[in-house]
Symmetry: C2
Subunit: 322 residues, 2 copies
């Protein structure tokens, strides 16, 4: 992102330094904040903007898809901590000339996905927007006390896994950029238009203690792996041939390695596990693939056949500026 996001987060960390340590189990920098709710339960909170022309475009995305994707972003953060979704809040600012039918269809897309995962739409705010549709989604989840799976617990020797297949969401963006006039068929690019957050998989990984550190792939594999390594103080080496690539479009063609490595918004899970753990090949019908190992040396490496090169996290801009 062109924003100095890291600088901003460290600024917030510094200035927001809190006097409520007992309440706040984990703060800024993970997928969710972890709050002590009761003696046996923690609450998870995550917020995510969905802004027109930054995260979606009205000519590309149906209102149902925009609502679904909004909600998926938050749910995926809950999944990445092994949590159970509880409630959803929506702050929504709308341009004056937006048809009511757009709003109805947007909320339908959003609540359909939320209810599927047991989250109630519980409140929010409405305002007028002078430029475009602005939505902020707040997801509240729960997890047994002290059991949230963090980004920061990866250890040297851990094996690295991903769920599902990668690059499918980004492939749709590349395609739409090329032919900006005709719409894509959402059925051929479901991972982009109607991504499925991995709530059940995240819960199983937490319950069975299969995952030691976890994150959801929203910024792209390379960037999200870098987040885990940074927060855990470790490095990683992954094998390009083992990265599961999505197949999409009419022809079901496999996406490029580049998209699988750097494309964002797949909302799959990336996690590490102690080497002794017996990992199932799939959980709730979602494949689980081993792609590499956590290392002691503070570097990200990509094996390409016989040679190994540095893996540079490229981040993910939702849309190249149009």
């Amino acid at each position: 992102m062109p924003l100095p996001e890291k600088a901003l987060i460290s600024e917030i960390r510094r200035l927001g330094h809190n006097r409520q340590k007992r309440l706040l189990a984990t703060g800024i920098g993970d997928d969710c904040a972890v709050l002590s709710a009761s003696p046996d339960q923690d609450f998870l909170v995550t917020t995510d903007f969905s802004l027109e022309d930054i995260h979606f475009r009205r000519q590309w995305h149906s209102p149902e898809s925009v609502g679904h994707r909004c909600c998926a972003r938050g749910l995926s953060d809950i999944a990445a901590m092994g949590g159970q979704p509880v409630a959803l809040f929506l702050s929504l600012a709308l341009p004056e000339d937006l048809p009511q039918s757009w709003v109805t269809r947007f909320i339908l897309g959003l609540t359909r996905l939320a209810q599927k995962h047991g989250a109630a739409l519980a409140g929010g705010d409405t305002a007028q927007s002078s430029h475009g549709i602005l939505a902020d989604i707040i997801l509240l989840g729960r997890v047994p006390k002290g059991k949230a799976v963090l980004r920061s617990d990866a250890r040297p020797g851990d094996r690295i896994f991903v769920t599902g297949k990668l690059g499918g969401a980004a492939a749709a963006v590349v395609k739409m950029e090329k032919r900006s006039k005709s719409k894509l068929n959402p059925k051929e690019y479901r991972r982009h238009f109607f991504p499925e957050p991995r709530i059940e998989v995240g819960r199983v990984l937490r319950e069975k203690e299969l995952a030691r550190a976890m994150i959801d792939i929203s910024d792209g594999l390379s960037t999200d792996l870098a987040h885990i390594c940074e927060e855990s103080g470790v490095g990683a080496e992954i094998d390009s041939e083992r990265i599961p690539r999505a197949q999409c479009g009419k022809s079901k063609r496999e996406v490029s390695l580049d998209l699988a490595l750097h494309g964002g918004e797949d909302y799959e899970l990336l996690f590490t596990a102690p080497s002794a753990v017996r990992m199932p090949r799939s959980i709730h019908g979602v494949s689980v693939t081993e792609i590499g190992r956590i290392t002691r040396r503070n570097a990200l490496l990509l094996r390409m056949g016989n040679r190994t090169e540095e893996l540079i996290p490229r981040g993910w801009e939702h849309f190249p500026r149009g």
Copy 2:
């Protein structure tokens, strides 16, 4: 607001109808949502947008004031339920060319007020904005189980009270509209630039069971009184001569009745109490003034000396469109 806010809220209520009734004590339509957190405690959640040129203007408001006002909006919703603030989340989208110093000062203004009331900045989201600064503030509070003071509990015969003085925040907006080039002195218009949410007062009103129904005055007295009446299925009659008017500006002139009745963003509390309750004249140094009574008849009335007229809620646009 020009937005069909009511239609939107009822749409959300209808579509978001939830399967988690046990968790969700009170839903959309009050100052905060009330969530069952544990056997002895409820959580309060509120979200509030602060959008450039809708809620603030960069040429009028210092970054510290914008941060403070953002935070005050959320804290005031917690105060209106008699709650204790716990944690704060910030979704922040910034234009690419915004100086880092603006962000630092904004976060300082925000966290200073939050920490004063015991709320930790615990997380959020950052994004790029294509038009102006966009902030969404999420406040999390707590209240003993079942004790949140709702809008919907006013009963015929209840006396109506307000804290502090009204119209001071709106007076600043009127003044700035008139002389758009020179800045106002924030010290002369504190209620606008650095409003104080009534957290302690709200807590005392709840603890001592002094308030039966409560709301914060963010949309203006007339509109917020209408909210209480609507949610409680009652009417109200207030006396124009008893409405406490703010004094502001260099001359400390009293604001017009119009501003006291319809001006928004004072963040004082409006509440009703059973007629037998002995109400203190001030709580924690903040005055408490009786202004009227809740009636059975479904109408809002304003007494003006000897005659009584209908009180039409005018709502509050943060800024008239420039």
